[in-house]
């Protein structure tokens, strides 16, 4: 009732997203009622650096304030670091968990603001979902991380050698954090397809989704699996 940041979006659309959040099976365990006491904000690391308030998230959902909720879906939920310091709530609310649900609904519905917020993460999503690891040694480049000091150049030049010096054979990698078993990758692909995690990406970035689906389907098919 107090926000009109998105007047062009029909109320029914906002209500539909709100209902998806409210009817999530975790919702009732994550939100009782809000005193508006602010202990969650006091505990929140993000609140120190951004114009972000877990209190307002809990408060808005408790009040069923649809307009404000829609504003938060677009402008606030990606400022949370999901550290769950806010769990110290005296009413046993879980503002961080509420944000988890809101993020899932935002991704599932492909909100424009969510696409923008996550645009910089395309490469990370691709890497983690197709290889099972995120940060890899070959990301260690002098121009990428100047604050890491002059030795980075030396390390980067002989990266393969440094990695082979490590005792576990699975760490003799440069493009991956470690060697992931093929069987593990097939299990991950199966989980991502069956749980709908892969489908979440389709609303967000259709091209990325199609590329990843092809990678996964090919790998599964090569081993004689079919996951529909």
């Amino acid at each position: 009732m107090l926000s009109n940041q998105y007047p062009e979006v029909p109320l029914e659309d906002k209500q539909r997203l709100f209902d998806q959040v409210k009817h999530d099976q975790r919702f009732d365990d994550y939100l009782y009622g809000c005193y508006e006491c602010g202990i969650c904000v006091a505990a929140c690391p993000s609140a120190r650096f951004y114009d972000f308030s877990p209190r307002k998230i809990a408060q808005t959902l408790a009040r069923e304030d649809i307009e404000m909720f829609y504003e938060q879906m677009n402008d606030d939920i990606w400022n949370c670091s999901q550290c769950f310091s806010c769990l110290r709530c005296p009413r046993q609310n879980n503002p961080g968990g509420l944000i988890t649900i809101m993020r899932e609904v935002a991704v599932n519905n492909g909100l424009r603001s969510t696409k923008e917020a996550l645009a910089g993460y395309t490469r990370i999503i691709y890497k983690i979902m197709t290889t099972g690891t995120q940060v890899s040694p070959d990301m260690l480049q002098e121009d990428a991380f100047p604050d890491w000091g002059p030795q980075v150049k030396e390390v980067a030049q002989h990266l393969d050698l440094w990695r082979r010096a490590l005792p576990p054979e699975t760490l003799h990698t440069t493009g991956l954090s470690w060697q992931v078993e093929e069987r593990t990758m097939l299990e991950l692909y199966t989980i991502w397809k069956l749980t709908g995690v892969l489908n979440m990406i389709s609303e967000l970035d259709e091209g990325l989704h199609d590329i990843m689906e092809e990678v996964m389907d090919d790998a599964l098919e090569d081993q004689g699996f079919s996951v529909v």
């Binding site: 107090l2 009782y32 009622g33 307002k56 408060q59 009040r63 009413r91």
Partner: protein, 353 residues
């Protein structure tokens, strides 16, 4: 020779418990009530009692019947105390009945339980328009409506879609001259918000407040219950003004925790009016020469350890005549006043024997 007889003035929860307590201890009791009915303000005005939402007449029935049937209690209805002479152990009081006839009564001690009256919203310094807009009502008006089993907009008889309570009307306000918290209105408003939601599950209900004060078990019995089970919206911020817009009410205020001004339309606004000393309480101060405390209620001595002794020997106070009280506190004070008064009469009896 001390008169072994106690006068209790006012038959609300405090006076009833004082009368019952003293009579059970063996002292003869004269119970004087200004109206034609026992039970006081809650019985006359409240559809249900806080915090358990029990129907008032049903809940108070055993209490009232116990008084009517008690052989040690003489009840005088439609009577007021107008004069008093004498001192502890030997008061001569004058009662004036319905037709103006006076009677003289001898009593040894007195319990004043003349209670409170609701704040008149015509005196508020904000602009809520209680006497201008039909759909602006008080907690008391809402109780009267709930007694008939419904809650509607007085202007058109339709059920409201949006209902707002405004807290602290006539309380906690230096401008008005009432610096106190009336103690029960947060709980009563929360109780009523639950009742509104039970009657009208699709209604949006808001409570605009300065601080929610629901001490003890009212916390989860009323506050959490209204907020969690019935999705009542508690908004911290007090409304400055109510205007008419079409057939709706436009409320202006601030949502302080969200840091935004609020202008919203409501169908029904309920003012949480607080407590002031009743006319009877002010009259009894004059009749017995009792001083007021700082806020205009009857003063007691020895607070916080003695809640019922007034500076006038032989005169005790119980209930909201001494300041804002809920029913539990009023009844407890009634019992305490009975013990103190009977104790005094017994001491006087022994010393004169």
């Amino acid at each position: 020779m001390a008169v072994d007889r106690l006068l209790v003035i006012g038959a609300g929860p405090a006076g009833i418990e004082a009368a019952r307590g003293a009579a059970d201890l063996g002292t003869e009791v004269l119970l004087v009530e200004a109206t034609g009915e026992l039970g006081g303000t809650p019985y006359h005005h409240y559809a249900t009692l806080t915090p358990h939402l029990k129907e008032t007449h049903e809940a108070m029935y055993p209490m009232l019947e116990g008084i009517k049937a008690h052989p040690g209690i003489d009840v005088r209805y439609n009577a007021r105390v107008t004069k008093s002479q004498g001192q502890a152990g030997d008061f001569q009081v004058t009662l004036v009945g319905e037709n103006g006839q006076e009677t003289q009564e001898s009593v040894g001690a007195i319990v004043v339980a003349t209670g409170f009256q609701h704040f008149d919203p015509g005196r508020e310094t904000q602009l809520y328009g209680y006497y201008e807009f039909e759909d602006v009502i008080t907690l008391v008006d809402a109780e009267h409506m709930m007694k008939t089993g419904k809650i509607v907009r007085p202007s058109n008889g339709e059920p409201p879609e949006r209902v707002a309570f405004i807290q602290c009307v006539g309380s906690r306000d230096r401008q008005i001259g009432n610096r106190w918290c009336s103690k029960v209105c947060c709980g009563v408003a929360s109780k009523q918000s639950i009742e509104v939601k039970r009657l009208l599950p699709n209604a949006k209900v808001f409570i605009f407040y300065i601080d929610m004060r629901m001490y003890g078990f009212w916390e989860d019995q009323l506050y959490w219950k209204a907020q969690e089970e019935h999705k009542v919206n508690y908004v911290r911020g007090i409304v400055t003004e109510i205007l008419k817009k079409g057939d709706k009410l436009l409320m202006k205020g601030e949502d302080t925790t969200m840091g935004r001004p609020v202008e919203v339309l409501m169908d029904l606004v309920i003012l949480s009016v607080g407590m002031e000393p009743s006319r009877g309480t002010v009259e009894m101060a004059q009749v017995f020469g009792m001083p007021f405390e700082d806020h205009g209620f009857l003063a007691t001595v020895g607070e916080p350890l003695d809640t019922v002794s007034t500076p006038v020997p032989g005169v005790f106070v119980a209930g909201a005549a001494a300041g804002p009280k809920d029913i539990e506190d009023s009844v407890s004070m009634g019992g305490s006043a009975a013990v103190k008064a009977v104790g005094l009469l017994n001491r006087l009896k022994r010393s004169s024997a």
